[in-house]
Symmetry: C2
């Protein structure tokens, strides 16, 4: 049984930080509303579905947030303002290059005037300097907002759409987050940790498809891109096309779990075409997101021109 999106919002409490995020959004958007700056909303990372009120366990979607974090860097490079809506602790643009203790190995202690200071080793300083330059150059155009659970995400997404609706065709919404299709309504959740003495069955409900009100009611004039991730190649394109028919948005980017870093398919109403890195490019550290964003920016501009 699916509830409607209106029921979902009526029955699910809003996240504690929503009002704070709305203020951040308003201040950010206000800076660009009287310019011709293009804006992209990127959602990134997986949503959790708690199975207990006092949450110890949850159902999660596989996503480190690579697609979203990498794409954010390329959109900033293309001079977009970026609203990066990401799962808390998933990858962020720029810092994604420096995860874990490997980064500590790039640092060295030096003594200057008998005070300790810390430097990036000469071997790594070029790479780090470049990333840091890009970060500092673009951070004024980057707003980062976080979610954890599915309901945090759905509340935040609606507020983001309300905040950008005035930007109309200048805005892209790039839905790269791995959003759960299933959830457990608050009134069906266990209050405390499920005892580990019995094997439970978890009964999930379908999440209402908010892409429908998003495209039709919240931001009808913006450029909306959704992703379709499958593991079975045979159903990929037909499912992407089905999504386009159901929601009538601008574009579906279709990809297979195993090859998603090398190849994606752009599916529009009229056609589909493949973007692909060669094995050589992949080996050299090229990122498919560069192709995705470059292609998308061209499509966005064409589409804006057609709209006027």
């Amino acid at each position: 049984m699916t509830s409607t999106w209106e029921e979902f919002y009526a029955k699910t409490p809003k996240p504690a930080d929503l009002e704070e995020n709305k203020v951040l959004l308003k201040n950010f958007i206000d800076r660009f509303s009287n310019t011709n700056k293009k804006v992209v909303v990127i959602t990134s990372g997986g949503t959790t579905v708690p199975i207990e009120h006092n949450t110890v366990r949850f159902v999660d979607n596989f996503s480190a947030g690579n697609r979203g974090a990498i794409s954010a860097e390329y959109f900033l490079e293309q001079d977009y303002a970026v609203i990066f809506v990401y799962r808390l602790k998933s990858l962020e643009p720029f810092s994604r290059h420096f995860m874990g203790n490997k980064f500590l190995d790039m640092l060295e202690l030096t003594s200057e005037d008998s005070t300790d200071s810390v430097k990036v080793t000469p071997e790594h300083s070029n790479k780090v300097a470049n990333i840091l330059k890009n970060y500092k150059k673009t951070k004024e155009r980057l707003l980062q907002l976080t979610f954890t659970t599915l309901s945090d995400y759905l509340w935040l997404l609606r507020s983001v759409c309300q905040a950008i609706s005035g930007l109309e065709d200048r805005a892209i919404v790039y839905l790269a987050a791995a959003v759960s299709d299933f959830y457990i309504p608050p009134n069906e959740m266990s209050e405390h940790k499920i005892p580990s003495t019995e094997a439970p069955s978890i009964h999930l409900r379908l999440v209402p498809k908010v892409l429908k009100p998003l495209v039709n009611l919240w931001i009808p004039k913006s450029f909306v891109v959704s992703f379709k991730l499958e593991t079975d190649e045979r159903v990929l394109i037909s499912k992407a096309r089905k999504a386009l028919e159901n929601y009538s948005h601008s574009l579906v980017i279709a990809n297979i779990l195993q090859s998603r870093r090398q190849q994606v398919v752009f599916v529009t109403k009229d056609c589909d075409y493949t973007l692909r890195l060669t094995d050589e490019e992949l080996k050299n550290g090229e990122e498919i997101e560069r192709l995705i964003v470059e292609n998308l920016v061209v499509k966005h501009v064409e589409w804006m021109e057609k709209a006027h």
Copy 2:
């Protein structure tokens, strides 16, 4: 229905990197076997339970890996060799202090002899220098091994125990990972991504309790510490005591989800006592893991003396 631990290992394929990890373990242990160095195995972070073979979705346990990563630093400070067995991408000792883009804000670009170099800002250089010093001083005594799924974890844990069994009472095993109590056997998993058109029910099985063979067969002479995390205070101590009776290991550290950063209870066969940070200490950034590790080291030494 619970399967036995023997059945679990017989029916679940071993992780691809297990043999590689065994070599790393052997080389690490060999360096300490003819010394009197004390060794601790720390498990950290949550295990995943895939619900599909080509995994897009999984059931996860809440854990960023704070307890384990922080404890590893204090054990290194206490001169232990540390085998840190952690969930891929969960927190690691030392680098845990530098997560996300906040760390990029601690860096500045400088130009020396017309080449770019990158430095930690003077404001943060003391803190970073101290952490970096501790990291460099102790990294030879730190071995890091990763897992993701529940079955990766169970295979790796057994191999680690086999590798350290010769250390006998010099070894502590500190089981801080949040290990799933439930799983889906490989033959009951869905091959491809479950279609999002129907609400599924997930039927879970109980995971066999490997603490039993661990204590009784794999490392009967080592000091074994398990954790008990609950959300309901009323059942905490009784459950901890039950675990001690069932597995006859050395110590259970019991904690409540909401207060786990401020308070834990050490539960042994004979008594239980509380370790607690004051509100003031907590506010000043003190970590309860310092108390846990200091207490544990005293207990370990007493216990080694008694054993001889």
